[in-house]
Symmetry: C2
Subunit: 386 residues, 2 copies
């Protein structure tokens, strides 16, 4: 049933204490060092950051784009005709796309889920559309994603056991349909792709485990753990990863979708996660929340009005090298576009630097010490700097 | 009465036919080749464009900042305490500031003009403030502008002859007070500055000429021609420059404030103008209007939906080198921040390239031919590209 893998993963180091490992993910658009954090480029742009800066200066090698948004605008067929998403947006690195399911559930006012798929109304113009397990594979192949996701249902938290069972069963069935369709389709394609199924099950341990076991039978190129960061307490998200991950094949990449805060990145990695994505670094940046070694910095605070230091003196990003907190505060207060760009650059640098440190700690065998030190800092700097 | 000049101007070439010349303007923050177009950085940022890109990639050497905005936020004393505007915004080049008068007249709801100055209400928080000829010099010296402007009154168009007379007389009196105060103040300063009076007179030829003659007596470092682009027909703006300019000293830089469209730049230069500024390249950029060799390109038009060419194939800017019209249109339609950045970069490159061409044409003695060719193109490409 399985084809030769087109996107491959090799483990390069393992933590002797935790479940963490470093690896190399080989895609048609380069090699990605894992564990990796993927900045989110919802509409084919990581908001405010030019592609060359993201690749050359920040060192990002893979970003996430949202199928739902690109399907609606400019349309996947238009992107296909223009040579695919990489070419359309001039991004030299790799791209992972979600299936669009999560956005249907979070952005579309009207939607109806059946076993066939989900019918929904565009949040842009009210037009009705349908996503099926097969169609979302087709859309993502039109986009040319290096790594595509199966259509899944991501229920909110909390949800009844009964609904979670129905929903998880549907997610597994959709994964089977999607994978069969995908394997058929990629035979004809010269390009390299991967399709990851998504472990769901809400916060029910046994449903998560059953789901993981069934998806493993699909022998996929990698596995995602979804349905996290949907409102549940943070320890519960980690627990769901902890109990699903050991069931997933050790030699495939594992992707925790939509996580997390800077202090959580290492925690997920310690639980065997290789890939993460989150809108937090860019969304918080636009809202004036900057991440630093010493905790969060809320730039609007008046204490920064004449602060001539950089956001974070240890940060090598262009915002920290060039501009003061006082200037950045002024840009934020004056609602200037440049603030969003500089703040996003800084927060992405912060996230990617954490990932570099984590990879280094795993290679050196010092991840437990790294996590311990990090937990102490985070506890000490829960709120804004003082 | 006059001090040794701190900002000097040397003419390096003159057009044998028109009044155009090339020159070098020496300020405390570098040497500027003239004729020059100054991008507008109202709130200490050229909207959407990082300073290093503006200086290194686009080659801008002088920008304009607005005294009114910076006086209100973050405040000129705060900027002085932080080492001045150049340091505050990390801009290595020169800065020209307006006097704030124009913004008081255009942005403030409540204002009262007397011979002493103008009282006005902040558009930000409703606080009352006052600008006098002396105080606006002090504010601009606190900012550390290389080139400051005297407080002037810029009446709308049209205005009665009677009002224009009163207003022009006041502008001249203010220029005298400002210049006396400035000369007193700069004695104590180690930094290099210039103060330009502003020729007003609405669209009355004799008032303009009287004003110019009276201001020449001040023996200033340079002269501005204000009150243009306030609603009058374009030929009238050029005519006002044409009749004021011959009265101004040939060895001082002349600055036409707030102009103009790409096709007008050479026309002003041919009438003896050395410096110009305008929000058009950046404001139009944000509104989706891109300037090209072939005319204006309105990016939202559906004809660009799958257009894989650059904005302008002859343009060396990073937007044209990297991204397609289709991608830029997508960013614009999706209201993405990156559009404002890329479009502003392109339009500024277009303006600065025109200025480079104009300077080259003057040096080669071919400005008349250049203007002739340019007029033909502009007539042929009045609207959007076809």
């Amino acid at each position: 049933m399985s084809s030769p893998r087109q996107v491959t993963f090799e483990i390069t180091a393992e933590c002797p204490v935790t479940r963490a490992r470093t690896g190399l993910l080989h895609t048609g658009h380069g090699v990605i060092e894992t564990p990796v954090f993927m900045p989110v480029g919802t509409q084919a742009t990581v908001k405010g950051v030019p592609q060359d800066h993201l690749y050359d200066q920040l060192g990002a090698r893979i970003i996430l784009a949202n199928t739902y948004h690109l399907f609606l605008r400019p349309g996947h067929e238009a992107i296909r005709r223009m040579g695919g998403l990489h070419r359309f947006m001039s991004w030299p690195g790799s791209i992972l796309t979600d299936s669009g399911g999560f956005q249907v559930f979070s952005l579309s006012e009207l939607r109806k889920i059946t076993d066939e798929g989900v019918r929904f109304q565009s949040h842009l113009d009210g037009d009705m559309h349908q996503f099926t397990p097969e169609s979302t594979v087709d859309v993502q192949l039109a986009l040319g994603s290096d790594i595509a996701m199966v259509l899944d249902e991501c229920p909110p938290y909390p949800v009844t056991r009964e609904y979670a069972e129905v929903s998880t069963r549907r997610t597994v069935a959709w994964a089977r349909s999607a994978m069969a369709h995908y394997r058929e389709k990629i035979r004809a394609l010269p390009t390299r792709h991967a399709l990851f199924p998504i472990v769901q099950g809400s916060m029910y341990a046994d449903l998560r485990q059953d789901c993981a076991r069934e998806l493993v039978d699909l022998d996929a190129d990698g596995y995602a753990i979804g349905g996290l960061s949907v409102g549940e307490p943070r320890p519960m998200s980690l627990e769901m990863v902890e109990l699903s991950e050991p069931l997933l094949p050790r030699d495939r990449p594992r992707y925790a979708m939509g996580v997390g805060m800077p202090d959580e990145l290492g925690e997920y990695v310690a639980r065997g996660i290789d890939m993460m994505d989150c809108v937090l670094p860019t969304r918080n940046a636009r809202n004036g929340c900057l991440f630093t070694r010493a905790g969060k910095l809320i730039i609007k605070h008046s204490r920064y009005k004449e602060d001539q230091g950089p956001i974070d003196p240890t940060c090598p990003c262009s915002a920290c090298r060039t501009y003061s907190r006082a200037y950045l505060r002024h840009l934020f207060q004056a609602n200037e576009i440049l603030f969003a760009t500089l703040a996003s650059i800084h927060n992405i640098q912060h996230y990617l630097d954490i990932m570099r440190e984590i990879r280094q700690a795993i290679r050196l065998g010092s991840l437990p010490e790294y996590l311990h030190a990090r937990r102490s800092i985070e506890n000490a700097a829960d709120s804004d700097l003082e």
